[in-house]
C-alpha cells in the first residue's frame, strides 16, 4: 500500500504553532478526510478538524489548506508524499485544522 506523510498544524489560538507528522498507508482513491478520520481512531483522538457528510461533498465543512491551497478534505486524495495540512488562514482558529466558519449570525456569540 502507498504511504502518505501528513504534516499537520497542531494547537489553538495563541499557542506556539507546532506540527505533527503522521505516516499513513492508504488504498488508491482514498481521501485526505479518510486519512484524518483513521488517524483519530488509530493514533490520536484529540486531533481536531471539521466534517459532517463524509463522502457527499454536501456539507462543505471540511475546508482546509493542503500545501497552501484551499481544498475539501473529503475530495482531495491521499498521495504518496508529504502533504502539509493547515487551517484556513482567513478564519479564526479553533484548534489544529478546525476554524470558525459558521456565518456570524449563526454563532453563539454574534460578533
Amino acid at each position: 500500500m502507498p504511504v502518505a506523510t501528513l504534516s499537520i498544524h497542531r494547537g489553538g489560538l495563541g499557542d506556539a504553532p507546532r506540527r505533527d507528522e503522521f505516516e499513513i498507508a492508504f488504498e488508491a482513491g482514498e481521501s485526505v478526510l479518510d486519512g484524518l478520520r483513521r488517524l483519530r481512531i488509530a493514533r490520536d483522538p484529540t486531533l481536531a478538524f471539521r466534517y459532517a457528510c463524509l463522502n457527499a461533498n454536501a456539507c462543505k465543512e471540511c475546508m482546509m489548506l493542503l500545501d497552501g491551497k484551499v481544498i475539501y478534505a473529503c475530495t482531495a486524495r491521499l498521495e504518496p508524499r508529504e502533504m502539509r495540512l493547515d487551517p484556513l488562514p482567513n478564519k479564526t482558529l479553533l484548534r489544529d485544522l478546525a476554524t470558525i466558519i459558521a456565518p456570524p449570525d449563526e454563532r453563539l456569540d454574534r460578533p
Binding site: E30, I41, N55, L94, R95
Partner: protein, 569 residues
C-alpha cells in the same frame, strides 16, 4: 406567555438561553418546524444544530427524489396505500396519512419557495420508484434534491427574520425534565467546549436518524441517534427500534469521493441498470425478487436480502457485493440521465459505458423512533419530535422518497403545535437545579481515553451482529459487548471542559447516546422472533401474523424495558 431571547448566567455560571420553542436539529424537519412555529406566532424560536445550520444531517445529502401526490390524477390516498403496503403491516395509518397529505402540501409550498423541482410539460417531472403505483417522485436535477431542499428552507428561515435565532455547533446532550414536563435542554457548545442550558416552552427533537451506529452507512457524522436517546432519557417512548433500513445498492468499489454512496438509485429509476453477481449473471429472481428485465422494481428489503445471500453463497463481486452495470445503455442515453455526473464519475476513474461498479447494502434510514401523536407530541408534556426521529409512519420498511416528505410534513405539524404549547404557558419555567446533573456532566473531567476507537468498535459490532440479518446468538453477543462498552465509557467525559472543537469529548457524549440507542435496537430485534421488512431473523425466517405488533421501549431507571401493542388503526 411568550419569552424573550435572553442570555444570562445561572448560579453555576453556565450560559443560559431562553426560547418559546427550541428546535434541536436543523435538517428538513427542524427548519420547516422553525418556519411554521414563527408563522403561528412564536416570537422566539431557537434553532440549534450540532453542526452548521442546514448542513449537518441527511437532508442536505439526499441527492435523489421526494415522494408526493402532486401529479395530475394522483391523490394522497394512493400514496398512502403504497406507504402502508411497504410498511408490512406495522405502519401507523394516521401518521402515514399525515406524511402523504401534509407532505404533498409542503412539496407545493417548497415549489412556491422556488426549490426548483424538475418540470415536464405543465407539471413536475417525476420518476417511479419501487413500491409506488405510479411516477410520484419529484426531484431537482442532477442529484441536487437535498442541497436544494436545504438551501430553500434555510433561505426561508432567514426571511422570517429575528423570530428565528439559529445557532450552530450546539450539541444537545440532555433534555431537562421538571415534574414530568420537558422544560429545555443542556448542550455542549462544540466551538468553545463550554456547557450551555436552554429553557423553552416547547422542545422539538428533529435530530434525524441513527445510521452512524453502523460501519458502512450513508449518513453524516451527526446521525448518532441522539434524539432517540434524549427522548428516552426524558421519559418518552420509542417504537419499532428493530427496523433499520439498509439501502441495497450503496456504493462499494472502486473508492468514490465527492458523491453520496447511494447516488446510484436515481439512475436505476431512469435507466434500469442491471444487478449482477460475481459471474455477471442476473440473480434477484433466485431470492424471490423480480427478474427485472432492465426495469427497477425490487423493493429495498428484497434487494438487500438477495445481494447479501448471493455474496454469502460465494457468488458476490470481488469486494463482497454485487455488480451494477449500465454498460448495455447507449452512451447518449447515459449522458442524458447522468448529465454532469458523468464527468464527476470520470474524475473517479469510472466510465459507465465500459465499467460496472460494485454495490452492497449500507445502513441508510431508521423507520423506528420517538412515539408521537398526530400533533407530533410525545407522552412527555413539552416534548415533540419531527422528521426521521419519529417512528411509526413507515412501519417495517420505508418507500423510497418518503423520508424527505416525512421530514417536511412532520416539521410543519410539530412547529405549529409547539407554537401553540409555548403560547399556552403550560410549561413551567426552566429551573437550573433540574439541569445540574446534565451540566455537571458537561463540566466534569476524566482521564483521556480513545473514544474515536470505541465508536469504530461499536460500529463494527453493530454491522456484524445487528445488520439486516440477525440471529439470537449474534444479538446476544451484541448485547453483552454493549454492556461492556457502557462500563468502559464510564460516567465522565475524557479531558477537561472548555477545549475548542474537542472531538474526543464530543465522541464521549455521542458514545453515551449510541450505546443506549444500539441497546434498544438489539433488545427489540431479539424479542421479535419473526422476519418482517427490514428486520430479518435467520433463525425465524417467516412473517407471523401474530407479530403484527409495535414494540415500545421505555427507560426504567438505567435499563430499557420493552412492551408490545397492536398496531394503531
Amino acid at each position: 406567555m411568550l419569552r424573550r431571547m435572553i442570555v444570562t448566567r445561572t448560579p453555576a455560571d453556565v450560559r443560559h438561553l431562553e426560547a418559546d420553542v427550541l428546535i434541536i436539529g436543523a435538517g428538513g424537519a427542524g427548519m420547516y418546524a422553525a418556519i411554521e412555529a414563527a408563522r403561528r406566532g412564536a416570537q422566539c424560536v431557537l434553532l440549534v444544530d450540532r453542526s452548521l445550520i442546514g448542513r449537518g444531517g441527511a437532508t442536505v445529502m439526499a441527492q435523489m427524489t421526494v415522494a408526493a401526490a402532486v401529479g395530475s390524477g394522483d391523490h394522497w390516498q394512493h400514496h398512502l396505500a403504497d406507504t402502508l403496503a411497504a410498511g408490512r403491516g406495522l405502519s401507523d395509518p394516521k401518521l402515514a396519512a399525515l406524511l402523504c397529505e401534509v407532505g404533498a402540501e409542503c412539496i407545493l409550498e417548497m415549489d412556491a419557495w422556488k426549490v426548483g423541482w424538475a418540470r415536464s410539460g405543465n407539471g413536475f417531472a417525476a420518476v417511479q420508484a419501487p413500491g409506488h403505483d405510479r411516477a410520484r417522485c419529484v426531484y431537482v436535477d442532477f442529484l441536487s434534491t437535498g442541497p436544494a431542499v436545504s438551501r430553500t428552507l434555510r433561505a426561508q428561515v432567514q426571511r422570517v427574520g429575528p423570530a428565528i435565532r439559529r445557532i450552530g455547533e450546539v450539541a444537545v446532550t440532555d433534555l431537562i425534565v421538571q415534574d414530568g414536563t420537558v422544560t429545555g435542554a443542556a448542550a455542549l457548545h462544540v466551538a468553545t467546549g463550554e456547557a450551555l442550558t436552554i429553557g423553552a416552552g416547547a422542545t422539538i427533537v428533529a435530530t434525524g436518524g441513527l445510521t452512524r451506529l453502523y460501519a458502512r452507512n450513508s449518513a453524516s457524522l451527526n446521525m448518532s441517534g441522539d434524539g432517540y436517546a434524549l427522548a428516552l432519557r426524558a421519559g418518552a417512548v420509542l417504537q419499532d427500534m428493530e427496523f433499520v433500513q439498509f439501502f441495497p445498492i450503496g456504493h462499494l468499489a472502486p473508492r468514490l469521493i465527492g458523491m453520496d454512496p447511494i447516488m446510484w438509485d436515481p439512475f436505476r429509476y431512469k435507466l434500469g441498470g442491471r444487478l449482477l453477481n460475481g459471474a455477471m449473471e442476473d440473480f434477484l429472481d433466485r431470492w424471490g425478487g423480480d427478474a427485472e428485465n432492465g426495469t427497477y422494481s425490487t423493493t429495498r428489503d428484497l434487494a438487500t436480502y438477495a445481494i447479501t445471500k448471493e455474496a454469502e453463497a460465494g457468488r458476490g463481486s470481488p469486494s463482497g457485493g454485487a455488480w451494477l452495470s449500465f454498460t448495455h445503455v447507449p452512451e447518449a442515453e447515459l449522458r442524458g440521465a447522468f448529465g454532469p455526473v458523468i464527468d464527476r464519475l470520470a474524475a473517479n476513474g469510472i466510465d459507465l459505458t465500459r465499467d460496472a461498479i460494485e454495490v452492497s447494502p449500507i445502513a441508510h434510514y431508521h423507520m423506528g423512533g420517538v412515539r408521537v401523536d398526530t400533533s407530533m407530541r410525545t407522552n412527555r408534556p413539552g416534548l415533540l419530535a419531527a422528521g426521521e426521529a419519529v417512528g411509526g409512519a413507515n412501519g417495517a420498511n420505508r418507500l423510497s422518497g418518503n423520508a424527505i416528505t416525512e421530514a417536511l410534513a412532520y416539521g410543519r405539524i410539530a412547529g405549529a403545535e409547539a407554537a401553540r404549547i409555548a403560547a399556552s404557558g403550560e410549561t413551567p419555567a426552566f429551573s437550573p437545579a433540574a439541569a445540574s446533573d446534565a451540566t455537571g456532566r458537561l463540566r466534569a473531567s476524566s482521564r483521556v481515553v480513545n473514544t474515536a476507537e470505541m465508536i469504530a468498535r461499536l460500529q463494527r459490532l453493530m454491522s456484524t451482529e445487528v445488520g439486516p440479518f440477525r440471529t439470537a446468538s449474534g444479538l446476544a453477543r451484541a448485547g453483552l459487548a454493549l454492556e461492556a462498552m457502557r462500563a468502559e465509557v464510564g460516567d465522565a467525559p475524557p479531558g477537561v471542559s472548555g477545549v475548542p472543537h474537542d472531538l474526543a469529548r464530543l465522541d464521549w457524549f455521542d458514545l453515551r447516546q449510541m450505546i443506549l440507542v444500539a441497546g434498544t435496537v438489539v433488545q427489540a430485534a431479539t424479542a421479535r422472533t419473526e422476519s418482517r421488512g427490514a428486520h430479518q431473523r435467520e433463525d425465524f425466517p417467516g412473517t407471523e401474523e401474530a407479530w403484527r405488533l409495535n414494540q415500545l421501549v421505555e427507560l426504567r431507571g438505567e435499563t430499557s424495558s420493552l412492551s408490545r401493542l397492536p398496531v394503531a388503526a
